[in-house]
Structures are given as structure tokens and as C-alpha cells.
């Protein structure tokens, strides 16, 4: 095995320029695959909840986007009466998707006490909004904008100042949070509120309470009750098609490795007919020749993968720092987790092996005497 490795490496270095060209071309394919894989991974984790919430949400049954939900105050009172022992608190929330400085962001307004204590928001920096025209923003928003504490942004005609950065233990939406009073002064109260939050007691079963609320005519006449996590699920649907497109393209790009390997080996075999014949005469079987060629391809693929992974990582890091992506206020975060990287490596090796197999398959059918000329 050691001799095989030594022989292969000597061969690759002997034909250095061609090896380099092959490595570069395969590396570029690897970059393509890893970028598409990172994009697919980003779609998969897009809007995902990192922690399950036990809160329930009441939204207008006909509203596709929560911003189009219009609920009356009475619906929260009804909810509290329907399951008084399982519901700890109810509170309203105003919700808008707005285009602010070229980014589509979520604007949410809830009573300050509920913001601090019932929504699993953790203050990372700064302070909660205490005065007029103040807001806190999520770290998800920081990822897609260049905002920081002290930034002033115009929202719906009024200037608001960022007083703090919060993290939601749930989703990573790019959200602006302000007090309910500020929200009302901004958007008015004529159309009610958009989301009714229902905080359950620790012992309550969210699915059961959801079913109880949903079956009551005071609720189901106009509204639907969801688990808080379902808001993220709605956004996941947006990207399902894009995920499919990326996956198809990723697989296609890997096929290029197969044909790149096939070409490289085929050329080697054509040029080295005499050497291969000599190896046969010396007792090298078809299987051993195939092993040699596979080892050669393996070295080339590993080198290409290493280079390609480095380039893809640099690109993704740059993209994350300088040109972050968000869709419907949810950051689309490109990453190269170990699982994707390992899968990419295994697939690359498999496709390279396929290239070797395709080449040596045709070789085995060839009359060895044809190599003697």
C-alpha cells in the first residue's frame, strides 16, 4: 500500500502541470458544489426555530401574512375565559412587514412588560425601549443591516432610535420591537391588532389548549390558533422550490467531477499504453490497475477538495460579513457545517470513483495487444 502511494505521488509530480490543471478544474467544481450545498443548507434552516415555544398565537384565519390580520381586543378576553386554568396571560401584538432602507423587516409592537417577560427575548446589549420613538432590534436584524445601538431609522414616517439588541430564543427573524403604545401611535388602532399571544401555564399542553381554543366559536368565527413555531414554518414554504433548484444544480455540478476524472484518466491511459502493458506483464491485474488509478484520482480529488473547500469557506465568510442575505425578514445564513463538508467529500470521492470505473470498464474490454503499438 505504501508503494502504491509512493508510486502514485511520483507519477502525479512527474506530470506536475497536468496534475495542477486537473486539481484546479476539480477544485472549481468543488467550490460550485459547496456554494450550492451551503445555499441548500441555508434554505433548510431558513426561519427555523432554535427552541420550541409553548406560546400560542391567534391570527385572523384569512390572513396569509400576519400583517394582514385584524383582531379585536375581545378575542383575547374570550381566550382567557375559555381555558382560564391553562392560560397564564394574553397580550396583543402589532405586526408589519415594512421596507426600511432597502430591507424588508418585521416591525412588532407589544406591551413592554410582555416584551421583557413573556416572549423569551434576551437583552444582549443596551437597554429596553423606555421612552418615545425607541426600539430594540434582534441580532437577526443586525446580521442583515449595518445598524447598531444609537442608529436612527425612519419607520412609517417617524424616526426611531435603537436602544438595545435582543436575541429571541426562537426564530432569528430580522425584527424591530417597540412598545405597544408606540406601535399604536404609529399605525393607529382602527384595524385592531394583528397577533394575539397566549402564554400558557408550565403544566399546560400547548396542542390541547390550541384545540380547545380553536373549537370555540368565539375564536374560530374569525381567527385561527397556531403554535408560535408555526410562524417560522410558513416562511419555510417560501423557499422549498429554491431548495429543489439548488439541490438539482448541486448534483449536476458534481457530475462534472465524474467527467473531469474520466477525461484525466482516459488521457493518461491513452498516453501510457506501453507502461500499462508492462504492468500487465509484470503481473498487475485489472483490479490492481484500477486501484492504482483510483488512488491517483483520490489524491487529485482530495487536493482539489481541500483547495475548493478553502475558497468556498472564504467566499461564504465574506458574504456573511459584507453582503448578508435575508428573505421576508429572515436571514438566509450560508454556512459549511461539518456534515455538509463531509458529505461533499464523500460524494466527490464517489463521483471520482465513478469516473475511474467508467474508464477502466472500457479498458477491460480492450484487447491488450492494441496497446502495443
Amino acid at each position: 500500500m505504501r508503494a502504491l502511494g509512493y508510486f502514485t505521488l511520483r507519477d502525479l509530480f512527474h506530470d506536475g502541470w497536468r496534475s495542477l490543471l486537473t486539481v484546479i478544474s476539480l477544485a472549481v467544481v468543488v467550490v460550485s458544489f459547496l456554494l450550492l450545498a451551503a445555499l441548500s443548507q441555508a434554505y433548510l434552516s431558513f426561519g427555523n426555530q432554535t427552541q420550541a415555544s409553548t406560546n400560542l398565537m391567534i391570527i385572523d384565519a384569512n390572513a396569509l401574512d400576519p400583517m394582514e390580520s385584524y383582531l379585536p381586543e375581545s378575542i383575547l378576553q374570550a381566550a382567557a375565559q375559555i381555558a382560564p386554568t391553562q392560560i397564564l396571560a394574553t397580550f396583543p401584538s402589532l405586526f408589519r412587514h415594512l421596507d426600511i432602507q432597502g430591507h424588508i423587516l418585521q416591525i412588532r409592537a407589544v406591551p413592554l412588560d410582555d416584551m421583557q417577560n413573556r416572549l423569551s427575548l434576551t437583552l444582549l446589549q443596551g437597554s429596553w425601549p423606555a421612552g418615545a420613538q425607541q426600539m430594540v432590534v434582534t441580532d437577526g436584524l443586525i446580521q442583515v443591516t449595518s445598524w447598531k445601538i444609537g442608529t436612527i431609522a425612519n419607520i412609517y414616517g417617524k424616526d426611531f432610535q435603537v436602544t438595545g439588541i435582543v436575541r429571541s430564543s426562537g426564530s432569528q427573524f430580522a425584527s424591530v420591537w417597540m412598545t405597544y403604545a408606540e406601535g399604536l401611535s404609529l399605525f393607529g388602532s382602527a384595524n385592531g391588532f394583528q397577533i394575539g399571544y397566549v402564554q400558557l401555564t408550565p403544566s399546560a399542553d400547548p396542542d390541547k389548549v390550541r384545540a380547545i381554543l380553536q373549537s370555540d366559536p368565539r375564536i374560530n368565527a374569525h381567527a385561527a390558533v397556531y403554535l408560535e413555531t408555526s410562524l417560522a414554518d410558513r416562511y419555510n414554504q417560501v423557499n422549498q422550490n429554491l431548495l429543489n433548484l439548488s439541490l438539482v444544480q448541486a448534483v449536476i455540478s458534481l457530475l462534472a467531477i465524474t467527467f473531469g476524472t474520466y477525461n484525466a484518466i482516459r488521457l493518461s491511459l491513452t498516453e501510457r499504453g506501453h507502461e500499462i502493458l508492462l504492468l500487465h506483464i509484470l503481473g498487475f491485474t485489472q483490479a490492481k490497475l484500477r486501484l492504482f488509478l483510483f488512488t491517483r484520482s483520490l489524491f487529485l480529488t482530495l487536493a482539489a477538495y481541500l483547495v475548493g473547500w478553502g475558497i468556498a469557506w472564504a467566499f461564504i465568510t465574506y458574504q456573511g460579513l459584507h453582503a448578508p442575505i435575508s428573505i421576508q425578514a429572515a436571514p438566509l445564513i450560508l454556512s459549511l457545517p461539518a456534515s455538509s463538508s463531509l458529505l461533499g467529500l464523500l460524494l466527490s470521492i464517489s463521483f471520482a470513483f465513478l469516473g475511474v470505473w467508467l474508464t477502466t470498464g472500457s479498458l477491460s474490454r480492450r484487447d491488450l495487444s492494441a496497446l502495443q503499438d
Binding site: 486537473t22 478544474s25 472549481v28 450550492l36 400583517m67 473531469g260 477525461n263
Partner: protein
């Protein structure tokens, strides 16, 4: 000229004798071409359907919203205010998305039956357009929505749980082909909006300007801007796919370089002989060109099949909007230009090497 033709044909013959290798190179080209063509088709489709700013029309909507798609609701008092300013044409409109899930959403537009033909450009595929006096719950449906919902003229479509009679199917060539158009009154009743509307469309006659704000909560924007903002979010994703397409082009150019270089190297002695009998140095480049063109033509045919297959199998749609890839003449020519560049890049190095071939050395090589 005959020298060039001879070496060109020789190159093609040589390629034919190595068909499997030529096929492998062609598949590589097909992969690069299809990735580029798919991207180009989606870019074209987005530009054609969502990037149609109308210079002569403005939209008055809720501030910072994208009211031409959904998300704006303003009072009918705004319409009166606009008329009071002396604006000649004030067309109310409702735009909303209905449905039970993002993937099954249907876009609805409530139109002013008396005025909508002054601001909309469309043609009827079948049936008739809406006009003043049509019965309530009557709809005209965009061609793409009709196709996705399997609706025909004379049939019915469900909007927010209510049945609407389809009197016609229209085609505009923009994202509005995804919409169901109903009367403004029907839309207000359907959404339970009272007299509210989503937007007012007004002519750009100098009274109001793009970017202007009315009382802080209402703003003026260019017509088409809402649709552009909605899909602009996907631009960075397309840019990443652009990087991938570019990278694949480089990879294939390098593979071509490697292969053509080595194929020519295997024929170095024959080429040296050709030079000694009077073939000009440039004719050896024609030999390479013949091989490159042969491989590229085959790759382009395969790439075309890949592209059509993928575009017909994968559909990108969300929030009731189908992003329709447009494989038009522009996309095809751009893709062919791209693959031509890849081919030229692929033969540049071998061509340079051939033009510097040491004749005497090659004749002594064997």
C-alpha cells in the same frame, strides 16, 4: 484556406476516433451551459415580470409597504384628498394574497371597473374582460393562475372560500398573470375592508413626486416598485448562483485546456510533418478549433436538453407568485456567447503551445 479546412476536418476526424472522450468533454460543457442558461432564464424572467417600472404612473400606498402585491391598506379619504389636489386620474385598487398557506396562495386584485383599462396593459386569451355592470362575484383570471388552478373561461375559482365565476382569461406578460382580478366592490366585501383600498394609482403629472410622504403614513412611489422590492430579496441568491455558473465555466475551460492540449500532444509528430509539407502554423490552431467546436456543438445540444428538462421539472413559486424562467432569444444568445468564451479560453493555452512547437525537436521525438 485549404490548409485550414484540412486541419479543421482532421481535428474533427481525430475527435470522432476518440468519441467517448469527446462525449465526456461535451457533457462537461453541457453542465456548465445548463447551469448558466438556467440562471440566465430566471434573471430574464424576473426582469421581464417584476422589474417593469412605469415612468408615467405613481402609486399612493401605506408608507414603506409593497402595496402593489399586498400589505397596504389605506382609507378612501386618501382618494378624495388626491382628487382635491387636482390630480386628473385617481384609480383605486386592492392588492392582496389569499389562501390557506404560502404555497397555495392566490393573488387578488380589486379593480375599478370604469378606469382599470387606462392603467393596465393586457390581452384576452379567452372570454371577455370585466366591465361596469358585470354581476357580483365575477372574475377575470391571469393566464398563469388559470393554468396552475386548472381554470377555464366559464368555470369557477374559489377566493377566500367564496366562489367567483370566471368570465375571461387574460395575459399581460408580467407578474399580474398570477392574479385574479375582481371588481373593487367585490374585493372590499371579500376582505371585509369597508371602503378601504390598498393603493391609488395616479399619473405622474408633477403634483406629487416619487418618494413624497403624505402625513407620514402614506407615501408615493413609482408604479412597479412594490413588485421589484418583493423579488429584489432574491437577487443575492441569484448572484451566488452566478458565481457558481462562472466557476463551472472556469472548470470546463480548464478541462478543455487539459484535454485539447494532451490530444494535440499525442499528435505532435503528425503536426510537425504537416508543418514540414507547408501547412502554416495557424492551421494547427484550426485543428484545435475543429475539435473544440465539435465538442462544444455536442455539449451545447446536450446542455439545451438538460436546461429544458430542469426548467420544466423545477418550478419556483411562493406567495402566489410564480417566477417564470424566460429562455428567450436573449437568454439563448447570452448562454451561447458564454459557452463560446469558455471554448476560446479552453483552446487559448493549447493554441499558444502549438504555435511555439519546436518542429525539429518533434520530428526527432520518436
Amino acid at each position: 484556406m485549404s490548409f485550414h479546412l484540412t486541419t479543421f476536418v482532421l481535428g474533427l476526424h481525430d475527435l470522432r476516433s476518440r468519441f467517448r472522450q469527446a462525449l465526456a468533454m461535451a457533457v462537461g460543457i453541457a453542465i456548465a451551459l445548463s447551469i448558466f442558461a438556467i440562471l440566465q432564464s430566471y434573471r430574464n424572467g424576473l426582469a421581464a415580470e417584476f422589474n417593469q417600472l412605469q415612468p408615467n404612473l405613481l402609486v399612493v400606498q401605506a408608507n414603506q409597504s409593497f402595496g402593489e402585491i399586498y400589505g397596504s391598506r389605506i382609507s378612501s379619504e386618501v382618494g378624495k384628498q388626491l382628487s382635491g389636489m387636482g390630480i386628473g386620474m385617481v384609480v383605486p385598487e386592492i392588492d392582496d394574497a389569499t389562501g390557506t398557506s404560502v404555497s397555495k396562495a392566490i393573488l387578488v386584485r380589486g379593480i375599478d371597473l370604469k378606469q382599470y383599462t387606462r392603467i393596465e396593459t393586457f390581452s384576452m386569451v379567452s372570454g371577455s374582460s370585466l366591465h361596469p355592470g358585470v354581476p357580483v362575484r365575477t372574475a377575470m383570471v391571469g393566464s398563469r393562475l388559470a393554468s396552475s388552478q386548472n381554470v377555464e373561461t366559464g368555470g369557477q375559482i374559489m377566493l377566500r372560500g367564496r366562489t367567483f365565476q370566471v368570465v375571461g382569461i387574460f395575459h399581460s406578460g408580467t407578474y399580474t398573470d398570477n392574479q385574479a382580478w375582481i371588481s373593487l366592490a367585490d374585493a372590499q366585501a371579500l376582505l371585509d375592508w369597508g371602503q378601504d383600498v390598498s393603493v391609488y394609482i395616479i399619473p405622474d403629472e408633477g403634483i406629487l413626486h416619487e418618494g413624497q410622504s403624505l402625513s407620514g403614513q402614506i407615501s408615493v412611489t413609482r408604479r412597479g416598485e412594490g413588485a421589484r422590492i418583493t423579488v429584489y430579496q432574491y437577487q443575492p441568491v441569484l448572484n451566488i448562483m452566478g458565481v457558481v455558473a462562472f466557476a463551472m465555466g472556469i472548470a470546463i475551460a480548464l478541462t478543455l485546456t487539459n484535454s485539447l492540449w494532451r490530444l494535440a500532444w499525442q499528435r505532435r509528430r503528425e503536426m510537425a510533418i504537416l508543418r514540414t509539407i507547408g501547412f502554416p502554423a495557424l492551421s494547427l490552431v484550426t485543428y484545435l478549433l475543429g475539435q473544440a467546436i465539435g465538442v462544444t456543438v455536442l455539449g451545447t445540444l446536450l446542455g439545451g436538453i438538460f436546461t429544458l428538462g430542469i426548467l420544466s421539472a423545477v418550478h419556483v413559486a411562493a406567495f402566489g407568485l410564480t417566477i417564470n424562467p424566460s429562455l428567450d432569444a436573449n437568454a439563448i444568445l447570452t448562454s451561447l456567447g458564454w459557452i463560446g468564451l469558455v471554448m476560446i479560453a479552453g483552446i487559448a493555452l493549447p493554441a499558444w503551445w502549438l504555435s511555439h512547437l519546436n518542429l525539429a525537436k518533434q520530428l526527432h521525438s520518436d
